[in-house]
């Protein structure tokens, strides 16, 4: 199992996972996405694989394409509009996110960071809940970029299912490393299912895109061989 995670079983919405009473039970449990606690019973709210970590965190891992904005996640957005001091960014959710012109490294009221419509931005969501429209920034708490900001021109961005994006980001999954043995490339992965790849030649970029898209239908082990074969054929 990758990193202390244990798959329990497949659950459907409404399935009872466990009964939990905060007064009687000894330890506390933590409920992640896909689970609800109602009337002393923990039930699944989504269809998927129920997983638990060693620290009693339970969640349902679902295969889905639709992104629901979550605070502190790193996402790739597309600039769609400029409204005064704020840019509207499409992050693939139901609402567009906003980003202030001051949320970039070394930006001040005098030195503005001008974004063109259609630019790709890699940033972090600092506000994301069902009540408010999402807000993102391209700096961390100490005003450093840390890899965030406008993505350089010349790459290709494509959409993958959310679980594929989570899979390739996982440090225990060697897929991206395996690809790098054949081709030198830069990759940026957004938790909203958007992946941006840049390599020296256009055909390498398309090949890398197709390799990552293979993960939608195969496990990383199966995809490893097919991906290597595809990249070999390129050389």
């Amino acid at each position: 199992m990758l990193g202390g995670l244990e798959s329990v079983r497949v659950v459907l919405p409404g399935d009872e996972v466990m009964s939990y009473n905060p007064d009687s039970s000894g330890g506390s449990i933590f409920l992640g996405p896909g689970l609800r606690w109602e009337d002393g019973m923990v039930r699944a709210a989504k269809a998927g694989l129920l997983k638990k970590t060693s620290r009693h965190l339970y969640f349902v891992d679902t295969h889905q394409k639709r992104y629901i904005p979550q605070r502190r996640e790193y996402v790739i957005g597309i600039v769609t509009k400029k409204k005064g001091d704020i840019y509207k960014i499409d992050i693939g959710g139901s609402e567009q996110a906003t980003i202030s012109f001051l949320s970039f490294e070394n930006a001040s009221k005098k030195t503005r960071r001008d974004l063109a419509l259609g630019d790709l931005i890699y940033g972090q969501l600092i506000v994301a809940n069902k009540h408010m429209e999402p807000e993102m920034v391209c700096i961390d708490a100490y005003d450093r970029a840390m890899g965030m900001g406008v993505l350089p021109a010349g790459g290709v961005m494509f959409n993958v299912s959310l679980q594929v994006a989570r899979e390739i980001i996982n440090p225990d999954c060697p897929f991206l490393l395996t690809l790098s043995k054949k081709v030198k490339y830069t990759v940026v992965v957004g938790m909203n299912g958007r992946v941006w790849v840049k390599a020296a030649h256009q055909n390498s970029m398309v090949a890398l895109m197709n390799c990552i898209l293979m993960l939608e239908y195969m496990t990383p082990d199966e995809a490893n061989e097919k991906a290597l074969k595809l990249l070999e054929a390129l050389m």
């Binding site: 497949v10 459907l12 409404g14 989504k46 269809a47 629901i68 139901s94 496990t219």
Partner: protein, 192 residues
């Protein structure tokens, strides 16, 4: 007998919604049903209404305010079971899309012949000859409460209870099917 009723369902959401449909505290649900032949008319509107009210009870709409969830159902083949096939297809599409729900739901149709026999999943011909037809949608918890009941024809109270009981038993098969399909989808992950 079975397999002649085919419905294709797809779910889009939670996504953008027109200002006129925007609700401050919940998601706006839309069901669009297209028949296999001809234009969408009153019959399709009625089906959409029944499906909408069923689905509304299952989806956790308060988790996604100011959004819209669109369910589109295309009737591919129909042999009398258009409603139950569509409801079940909608449930599977919602499961696949990962929309949070309180429960899964399953629809079963039955009809009563003039001699009093209950037929589950009747064909169009059997429905024409029957005294009454009823479709029940159940939720997946232990007691299998009824979410929706749609009935046509004349049923005595005893016959109604008989139909309900038979449909309740048959719904277990549908729930078992949902579970099998979900297990198949996550098969690769379970093994690793």
């Amino acid at each position: 007998m079975r397999g002649l009723n085919v419905a294709l369902a797809s779910v889009n959401g939670p996504g953008d919604v027109k200002v006129s449909n925007r609700l401050y505290n919940r998601s706006h649900l839309e069901v669009c049903y297209s028949p296999s032949t001809g234009h969408s008319m009153i019959r399709e509107r009625a089906l959409e209404s029944v499906i909408m009210r069923t689905v509304e009870q299952a989806i956790l709409v308060h988790l996604h305010p100011r959004t819209a969830i669109n369910i589109t159902i295309q009737e591919m083949q129909s042999d009398g079971l258009a409603l139950s096939a569509s409801v079940n297809a909608a449930c599977m599409a919602l499961l696949d899309a990962g929309i949070q729900m309180k429960t899964t739901f399953a629809a079963v149709t039955c009809c009563i012949t003039p001699s009093g026999t209950v037929i589950i999943d009747p064909t169009e011909a059997e429905i024409q000859e029957s005294v009454a037809e009823a479709t029940f949608v159940f939720e997946s918890s232990g007691e299998a409460s009824v979410l929706t009941a749609h009935q046509d024809g004349r049923l005595s109270y005893e016959d109604f209870k008989k139909c309900l009981h038979h449909c309740q038993v048959a719904s277990k098969d549908v729930f078992a099917f949902y579970r099998r399909m979900t297990e198949k989808k996550y098969q690769n992950e379970i093994e690793s």
